[in-house]
């Protein structure tokens, strides 16, 4: 292939507060303000969501899930952003934000039920302030923009009351950055000075297409043309992801308008369990990114700089094992939906015509069961 592409590399101005080796570094604009105990809490989050992911992949391989979209490698971007949210903020995920779901208190089994086909978005978005997963890429950035318009209408921006002022966090990926929906969301958010943060997890690959296929400039620079700030954060650094997202959410709540954050990270696993990345990317790339692992650097910091010993890590490992058992057993116990449920939830009130179709179907299924009995 001879076509010239412009490689997009991490820039010197990528915001980082914890190096891959576990060294704390300070950034003048993004003070961390977390205790070592808080950082240990983030470590626990990272380990547990990776464990959920590992178990989910295994369950898919065993035929217990139809599909799974792995978050491996993106834990820090998600946990950092998820923990930066206040309870009354609203987040709009794609289909891969299992780490954010964890931070928003969604039971992992509810997530697994979605991928098993036993529930359809089993959590309440208003209860968790975490929208249901959106499969069509980028579409939720417009929904988030509409939500942010509602926040403004409610007067829940810039009042100075931390319990009232509300921010919206919209997730999307590098592939979706090319979508019209995302660009139109930028237009609306800028024009309305809306309290929204656009968080692009640039995991380098839109299934098989590299970022170079989408953009000649680093994605965070796109916001400049729309009239709001953008910055690139090390998405494998949970501390920087936390601090940068917190700052952007604060700005949104304080009526400073939207921000674009590009969390520079890497999808270490296939796009979904249906994908095989060996077809389109080199194994050496994965090896390079393993050296930037989001969890190892936190562990290195905690053990070297913060005095956390093997007891602490063993306790987390123990909790992780228990969570894995809960996920495995719980997933297998999730019941299949009944054929009779097929017509549920198409309308709030089922129209007579659809009810007739359902009745006919139920009768037909009954006759088949009778015939096979």
């Amino acid at each position: 292939m001879s076509e010239h592409v412009v490689a997009v590399q991490p820039e010197p101005d990528m915001i980082q507060l914890l190096t891959p080796e576990g060294q704390r570094v300070d950034h003048p604009d993004y003070p961390l303000g977390l205790s070592d105990e808080d950082i240990a809490g983030l470590y626990r989050d990272l380990v547990l969501v990776r464990r959920i992911d590992t178990e989910a992949i295994a369950l898919q391989r065993q035929g217990e899930l139809g599909l799974w979209a792995s978050l491996l490698g993106q834990e820090a971007a998600q946990i950092g952003a998820g923990r930066a949210l206040r309870p009354h903020d609203m987040a709009f995920p794609t289909y891969r934000e299992h780490g954010v779901a964890w931070c928003r208190g969604v039971d992992p089994l509810t997530l697994l039920g979605l991928f098993r086909g036993t529930n359809l978005g089993g959590w309440s978005p208003s209860e968790h302030n975490f929208n249901l997963y959106t499969i069509v890429i980028g579409a939720q950035t417009l929904h988030a923009t509409g939500y942010a318009m509602g926040v403004v209408r409610d007067g829940a921006v810039g009042t100075g009351d931390p319990d009232r002022d509300t921010a919206v966090l919209a997730f999307f990926g590098d592939g979706a950055s090319s979508q019209g929906d995302v660009n139109e969301a930028f237009v609306w958010a800028a024009a309305g000075n809306l309290p929204i943060v656009f968080l692009c997890q640039n995991n380098q690959w839109a299934i098989s297409e590299p970022v170079e296929r989408q953009s000649r400039v680093p994605l965070y620079q796109r916001s400049a043309g729309f009239g709001f700030p953008g910055m690139r954060v090390d998405g494998n650094d949970v501390l920087a992801s936390y601090a940068v997202t917190r700052r952007a959410l604060d700005d949104a709540r304080n009526a400073q308008g939207p921000t674009l954050i590009e969390a520079f990270t890497y999808r270490m696993n296939p796009h979904t369990t249906n994908d095989d990345p060996r077809r389109y990317r080199l194994g050496s790339e994965l090896e390079t990114w393993k050296l930037r692992d989001p969890i190892e650097r936190v562990r290195a910091y905690l053990s070297r700089e913060a005095g956390y010993g093997s007891d602490y890590f063993a306790a987390i490992e123990d909790e992780s094992k228990k969570l894995a058992e809960h996920v495995r057993a719980g997933c297998r116990a999730l019941p299949d939906p009944t054929p009779q449920s097929l017509f549920d939830s198409v309308y709030v009130t089922m129209p007579a015509e659809l009810r007739a179709q359902r009745d006919e179907f139920v009768e037909f299924v009954g006759s088949l069961e009778e015939a096979s009995a």
């Binding site: 001879s2 076509e3 499969i135 979508q179 098989s208 296929r213 198409v346 179907f361």
Partner: protein, 335 residues
Amino acid sequence: MTVMTYRQALHDTLRAELQRDESVILLGEEIGVFEGSYKITAGLLTEFGPARVRDTPIAEEGFVGAAIGAAMLGMRPVVEIMTINFSLLAIDQLVNHAAKMHAMFGGQVSVPLVIRTPGGGGQQLAATHSQNLEVWYAHVPGMKVVAPATPADAKALLTAAIRDDDPVLFLENLALYNTKGEVPDTEQLGRIGSAAVVRPGRDLTVVSYSRGVVIALEVANQLERDGVSIEVVDLRSLRPLDRETVCASVRKSSRAVVLEDDWLSFGVGAEIAATVQEGAFDYLDAPVRRVAAAEIPLPYAKPLERAALPSAADLIRVIGELLDATRFTHAEGGS
């Protein structure tokens, strides 16, 4: 004749047209390096290079619009939209531009564009990725919509679509890619807008297209053993629609069932039923029946997905009801 898969027939036809005509180019998401989500374009980037086989940004409205511009200026772009579901992101370019430019620009430009895209469910891809939206496009004057069921028709109609001077939506189906059939080795130029009687019969006509034809043939073969003679009409093209072939078959059989993968209301079956009552009313022994998908967003759960899609069992049930309603006897056909 060579026996090959539907997938291979599409691939070989694209390759042949790329070789034959320099103005043919391919565009789409992941069609180059990745060779397409369904591997239709395998090897074509290597053979023809990135100027003619182009991976595009993940922006459907963008690459369809760009393809329309290229087509207006004399190229023959063949766009792969990963699934028909994603065509919704490009629908303004397709419906308001590709389909209307020739008319609205007074015939001064044409848009020789092909949109290749698979529809259909059954792969556990959930409601937004499993739709049959072909009637959306078949509704629009200025568009052509073809939907081959066999590898041979895939070859003949793709060749015809690429050489056609109007925009053609070329409907594929996820469940057909691995089906096999005999394909002539020589160049085949199909005629867009002609249906085919793919199985002659006496007692009842099943009208279908794309994946439905495969099911209809299975059912026809099965019912033959019970003494029922089914004629199967493969529409092959939804716009233009070959109404005469359908009506001629019904005038002979006096009974008609439409098997369609789309939703019942306002679907292909509705158009066929109207066509039959206009063109063969006096020959009908009973109302035309339709077998279609349950009118719900297609479930992701495997057992529910299977239940919602039209199946051979559904078709057999409806054929049985229609035969009973018309007091069919095996003696009727003289057999």
